[in-house]
């Protein structure tokens, strides 16, 4: 089985097991959603002494992780995205970010990928709120190769970090040689007509949009941001200086996330017109991913359509 035929959560689990085998400082925490993250039962079985399921108690999981990190351990703690971020936001802010305790927080089933769990579990603001926290880094991998490299990077880094983890299988974008570097965005397609900025799930959607646009002779420059913070401003500015038109797409509310980061950079350095795709300041609902991404306006078709519109505006 090729790596990219696996679910992302399986690769998260594989990578954690690899890291925990190499390094006895790495520990894994869950808050009764380990089956969903993929770590139950495999990590639990492999490392019963370094796996802690704290139960349905996210604030406590964050505090315990802070204490473990304070003592030199490398805690990876995961739960659904809304509980991993907004539910324990003050705990993350004070016990982790402000205290500089380098905990690795993993938010699973981000945005619409929580699908049938619906609006209560559909977090559209984690990128925005985590990005707004000093000392916190914010990552969104787009495929298994990037995920694996990112998790290894996080285990070695001394910074507090947050990563979104889509659980399901996704098409490969990168390959075995991929090396995650938070200071570098990835230009996945070159073009001079419009700059298309995505992260995580929308990077997958944008691949199809870019292919469809090519058939119409529209050349979109597609930039994937595995790290929303730190944010690689140079790659964005180089592209926008060619295109003068930007579309952002994210599995998030349009306020404060990736689109927000893009607008901040452009407003200060190179004002250009930006169309932000994502939930338009609304909550989610139950549904499958194709329905939700279409309804909320960041499906491949919606991305292609926004690129067509923006192309003519520069």
């Amino acid at each position: 089985m090729k790596l990219h035929e696996k679910e992302l959560r399986a690769v998260y689990t594989d990578t954690l097991i690899e890291l925990m085998t190499e390094n006895d400082k790495v520990v894994c925490l869950e808050a009764d959603l380990g089956k969903s993250s993929g770590t139950v039962p495999r990590v639990w079985d492999a490392f019963p002494d370094r796996f802690f399921d704290v139960g349905v108690a996210e604030a406590n999981m964050i505090g315990i992780s802070a204490g473990l990190a304070n003592e030199g351990l490398v805690p990876f703690c995961a739960t659904f995205t809304p509980f991993a971020t907004r539910r324990a936001y003050d705990q993350i802010t004070i016990s982790i970010a402000y205290a500089e305790n380098p905990v690795k927080i993993v938010g699973t089933a981000p945005g619409v990928t929580t699908a049938k769990n619906g609006a209560t579990h559909m977090c559209f603001q984690d990128l925005a709120i985590m990005r707004a926290m000093p000392n916190m880094r914010v990552y969104c991998p787009a495929d298994v190769y990037e995920l694996r490299s990112m998790v290894k990077y996080m285990a070695a880094s001394k910074k507090p970090e947050y990563m979104q983890l889509i659980r399901e299988v996704h098409a490969p974008i990168f390959d075995e040689n991929y090396q995650f570097d938070p200071s570098k965005a990835r230009v996945l397609a070159e073009g001079a007509d419009v700059t298309l900025v995505t992260t995580g799930l929308t990077t997958q959607f944008a691949r199809k949009a870019v292919t469809d646009l090519k058939k119409e002779s529209i050349q979109a420059e597609h930039i994937h941001y595995p790290s929303v913070k730190p944010f690689d401003a140079d790659t964005l500015l180089d592209s926008v200086k060619k295109t003068n038109a930007v579309v952002t797409a994210e599995n998030q509310n349009v306020i404060g996330g990736l689109g927000g980061a893009v607008c901040e950079v452009l407003a200060e350095h190179y004002p250009a017109k930006v169309k932000r795709l994502g939930a338009q300041d609304r909550f989610g609902e139950v549904g499958d991913v194709p329905y939700l991404s279409e309804t909320l306006g960041f499906s491949a078709a919606k991305i292609a359509s926004a690129c067509r519109e923006m192309k003519g505006t520069s």
């Binding site: 406590n60 315990i64 304070n70 402000y98």
Partner: protein, 290 residues
Amino acid sequence: MERIESKDQLDQLAKEFRYIVTDIMCRAGGGHIGGSLSLVEIIITLYFRILNLKPDEPRWEDRDRFILSKGHAGPTLYTALAYRGYFPKEVLLTLNANGTKLPSHVDQVITPGVDQTAGSLGQGLSCANGIALAGKLHKRIHNVFCVIGDGESQEGQIWEAAMFAAHHKLDNLVVITDYNKMQIDAEVEKIVSLEPVVDKWRSFGWEVFEMDGHDWDDIYDTINKAMAVKDKPAMIVAHTVKAKGNTCYENRIECHFISIPDEDERNRVIGGVCVEGEEEPFEFNWTQGK
């Protein structure tokens, strides 16, 4: 360091601590006097009779850890740290000054000797859980001490942490509740009662003790008993008096945070630092105290 056993010496330390805590707050224009003064004997006992520390090596791996979850009592902890040599005593005078290393709530990043940042209530006990768990994983023999407030115990996270510590048999963890029976708005009993607090902790799987938080022998003996508990975390409910030892504020509901607008008020509050049985207010001489 020689452990301090003489009651006269301990009494003298307590007098100086109460004066210093009051004085540095007054100079800073105000502070959390009530919950700082209620902890004086407990923190002195920990830092001068119990904790195994190397002040010249604040992050020494085998040290005992101390987490002040009720982080607003920082001034009392800072005084203990200064007396133990983590930094010079005159640094205490910078409490809450611009650019200080001694903020009103404890900060592990900027203050030598502070093991865990705290201040947003309810969080420190979870961190203490992680620190105690790390001690177990590293097979170290140190103890982890944590002080929580009674008002703080209204936070749900305290009880999440209580369940976890008992489940994982964190017997290297000793937690003390500073039960001074008051919180900001009114008496704890009037806001949301903790009672029966001993039964609550016991039912959560903890070994529970009670002590007079101002009695040297009782504090020392009870902490030692708590440290000896096996297979369970230990809770000590310390009966204390808020703002103990300052006649202007002792056991008064407005003592949680005081504001010192001017020199007159400063003199009044400093003059409140009194010791039972002594006629004159106690005064600490900063110049000689160095």
